[in-house]
């Protein structure tokens, strides 16, 4: 084939190139793990002279795994892999279809003692015994009759010749999956405060925004700790809302992502929202009114009147007398502001007549409503990581193929056996020899076993 003589072709079909490329990739990885994180590199680059900085950033040393240097090496390796495979295929194919006879030259010379069995019976009786023994252990066999004597051939694990192809194909499939993932994939982060709905995510790479065509509400975020303070559970109760309807409610845990409309959501981080929620209840003319969860700046309405309420302040510890909220209620007739203390009873006990002296501290200033502050709650935000990676199935298939290929290559050798039955003087000699592409010791044991079996059968 003329193509094989092409200089470029032979360059790419050499295993020396493979080994060189693998060594270079290893060196690049080693460098990659020792180069500190991108922001440290950035500060370092800023200390360099403008020229050196340019060179430094040109080589993309801050992120070697996504540098053009690495991509070139990977492209060369893929080309090398494909061309090597194509190049070797005819030879492997010939090996796969190798004729069973004649046997490799000299294979029956200098056989050790145990590999030659001599028998007194005539060859017509011996042959079926040998044949059945071989068939029992190796399945279908082939035979030939020559002037020299009778030959049998058996083989095992012939398909393992293609194991190498399975492995190399799996590498290419995984590289393809990784490329598809990085080109068509998406990674973004969303922080959602408890009670809030969000439909915009920040792209992890770059500063772009990703608009979802649904929104996610964080109904509750919970963090639990073990006795020693180690975090035990991070849990977000989420609602996925589309066209104003809750389509799905689910609990998101670390290690248990949720998939919604092709996007996978991960529990990635959490934090305290800057504001604190006040749980405020009120009574209307002595009857139970309702409970509200309010943050500073929130507005609320009171169904029993047309008044609007505003939360002016939420304080954890005002004037060292405990938590309080400052509300403003506006109706057509009135516009009042007052504080609602959590520990009102104790405060009044300590300062009798306070509420008449200081109407600002009276939670019943907007009659006939009386407000009370039950408790303050810290609000959390949950940090979700969202991923779309269409390359994952390919990578998974590649992984499975690779393990299968490795097992075939390492543990299933291609073994070939020849048996030579030769009339010698008045007796008959049976010689057994074999070839294996790897792990010769295993084959020798098998031949020994076969010799013993045949010997026993003949004697029996």
């Amino acid at each position: 084939m003329p193509i094989e003589k092409h200089a470029l072709w032979s360059f790419f079909s050499s295993v020396k190139l493979t080994i060189t490329l693998l060594v270079l990739i290893v060196l690049l990885f080693i460098a990659g793990t020792f180069i500190p994180s991108p922001d440290v590199v950035e500060t370092f680059a800023n200390h360099l002279s403008p020229g050196a900085r340019k060179v430094f950033l040109f080589f993309c040393l801050s992120d070697l795994y996504h540098s053009w240097l690495f991509y070139i090496l990977l492209t060369l390796l893929s080309l090398n892999l494909m061309i090597c495979s194509l190049n070797c295929f005819p030879a492997i194919w010939r090996q796969y279809n190798a004729p069973h006879f004649p046997e490799p030259e000299g294979i029956f010379d200098n056989l050790p003692q145990g590999r030659i069995i001599t028998a007194d019976q005539e060859s017509g009786k011996i042959k079926p015994i040998v044949e059945s023994c071989l068939k029992k252990n190796y399945g279908p066999i082939s035979k030939i009759e020559e002037l020299r004597g009778h030959f049998f051939y058996a083989q095992r694990g012939r398909f393992s010749l293609f194991g190498v192809y399975i492995i190399h194909l799996s590498v290419l499939i995984m590289i393809a999956g990784a490329i598809i993932g990085s080109v068509f994939g998406l990674e973004a982060d969303i922080n959602i405060k408890e009670g809030e709905s969000v439909n915009v995510a920040n792209m992890t790479k770059g500063n772009g925004l990703y608009h979802l065509d649904f929104s996610i509400r964080c109904d509750k975020f919970t963090v639990e700790f073990y006795k020693d303070g180690t975090p035990k559970t991070y849990r977000s109760d989420l609602s996925f809302i589309k066209n104003g309807q809750v389509r799905r409610q689910a609990t998101l845990l670390v290690n248990h992502p949720i998939t919604f409309e092709g996007l996978r959501f991960y529990q990635s981080t959490y934090g305290m929202a800057p504001e604190i929620k006040a749980i405020v209840t009120y009574t209307f003319a002595g009857e139970k009114g309702g409970e509200m969860s309010l943050a500073a700046g929130d507005t609320f309405s009171l169904p029993q009147s047309r008044a609007r309420g505003f939360v002016l302040r939420v304080e954890e510890n005002i004037m060292r007398i405990g938590p309080a909220v400052k509300l403003r209620i506006v109706s057509q007739k009135k516009d009042v502001q007052f504080w609602v203390f959590q520990n009102l009873d104790q405060i009044v006990d300590a300062n009798p007549g306070l509420l008449t002296k200081m109407p600002m501290f009276n939670p019943g200033l907007f009659q006939p409503f009386v407000f009370s502050l039950n408790r303050l709650e810290q609000t959390y935000f949950t940090g979700l990581h969202l991923v779309y990676d269409p390359g994952v199935p390919l990578v998974a298939i590649g992984g499975l193929l690779m393990v299968a290929g490795l097992i075939i290559v390492f543990f299933i050798p291609y073994q070939r056996l020849w048996v030579f039955i030769k009339p010698q003087d008045a007796k008959i000699s049976i010689r057994i020899a074999g070839r294996s592409n790897r792990n010769d010791g295993q084959l020798q044991k098998k031949i020994d076993y076969l010799c013993r079996r045949i010997d026993e059968e003949i004697k029996a």
Binding site: V15, I25, F29, K232, V254, N255, Y266
Partner: protein, 282 residues
């Protein structure tokens, strides 16, 4: 804490086994070898019992997880897999010689785990990222791989020592005659590396699947991931140079030792680099 007591005894048992393997090498008497194997088996079983007790203990403490969750537990398990794989090879090959070079590695791992001041042997609760069914399969396959590579390393050392003494020529007499022949060593190196390679591949893959569920990406270029890939590539280079370029003997031995250096760095060295696997830092 019964299991810690057993584990400290096991540490001494492995040391004693190593000493007996050494006796066997020096005196050439198989009696010492049999005693050494017996001790190694006893240590292996005792350690398995200790690991099960520790597992049970974690449930009693209300945490309930496999004893594979921190540096201490991984070191103990590493020692156990080394002895396990070594004893299987010893039983398969009927040769006790590499014990002298492999059993001390297990002893050192055990000793380091219990003596190093920055390694805590307390049972610690599992943080949310580690609460996964993939933890066991990932850690077990990785350490099986590490252990097989350790055996290859031991054989590589013997090969080089013998090579230095004899200049590469087989001599039945003298000290080098007590060592296994070059071909056996070469086969052992190759076979343990193929075993380790398959385990490492599965280990990296189970890790990828786990990362896919925990972090949202099957590969994040975290230093430990990258170093496991470096290790994998080093052994891939070794296998290719054997298959295609026909490298044997001394070159294999040297590459097996380099590969083991990568294994150690992947396991321990990486902990000093920042990354996602940082919970292994003591």
């Amino acid at each position: 804490m019964k299991h810690t007591l057993i584990l400290s005894w096991v540490t001494f048992v492995y040391f004693a086994s190593f000493v007996l393997y050494l006796f066997r090498l020096i005196t050439g008497k198989e009696f010492w070898g049999r005693a050494a194997s017996l001790l190694a088996w006893a240590g292996l079983i005792a350690q398995a019992i200790a690991l099960i007790l520790r597992w049970k203990n974690s449930y009693d403490l209300g945490m309930g997880h496999v004893p594979l969750a921190n540096l201490y537990e991984s070191m103990i398990f590493f020692a156990w897999t080394i002895i396990l794989i070594y004893l299987i090879i010893e039983w398969r090959t009927k040769s006790r010689i590499i014990g002298v070079f492999v059993v001390p590695v297990a002893f050192l791992a055990m000793a380091y785990a219990s003596i190093a001041p920055d390694i805590s042997n307390r049972i610690e609760p599992l943080i949310p990222a580690l609460q996964s069914n993939w933890l066991t399969s990932h850690v077990v396959t990785c350490f099986m791989g590490y252990a097989a590579f350790t055996i290859a390393f031991g054989c590589g050392l013997i090969y080089l020592l013998k090579n230095k003494e004899t200049g590469g020529v087989e001599k039945p007499a003298g000290n080098s005659g007590k060592l296994p022949d070059f071909e056996t060593l070469d086969t052992l190196i190759y076979q343990s590396i193929t075993l380790g390679f398959v385990f490492l591949t599965i280990g990296i893959m189970t890790g990828s699947i786990w990362a896919h569920y925990a972090w949202g990406s099957y590969w994040s270029w975290d230093p430990k991931e990258t170093w496991s890939l470096i290790t994998w590539l080093v052994y891939a280079i070794l296998l290719h140079s054997r298959y295609v370029r026909g490298w044997r003997g001394k070159r294999m031995a040297i590459l097996a030792i380099i590969g083991f250096g990568c294994v150690l760095f992947t396991y321990l060295g990486v902990n000093y680099l920042p990354g996602l696997h940082s919970y292994l830092r003591a």
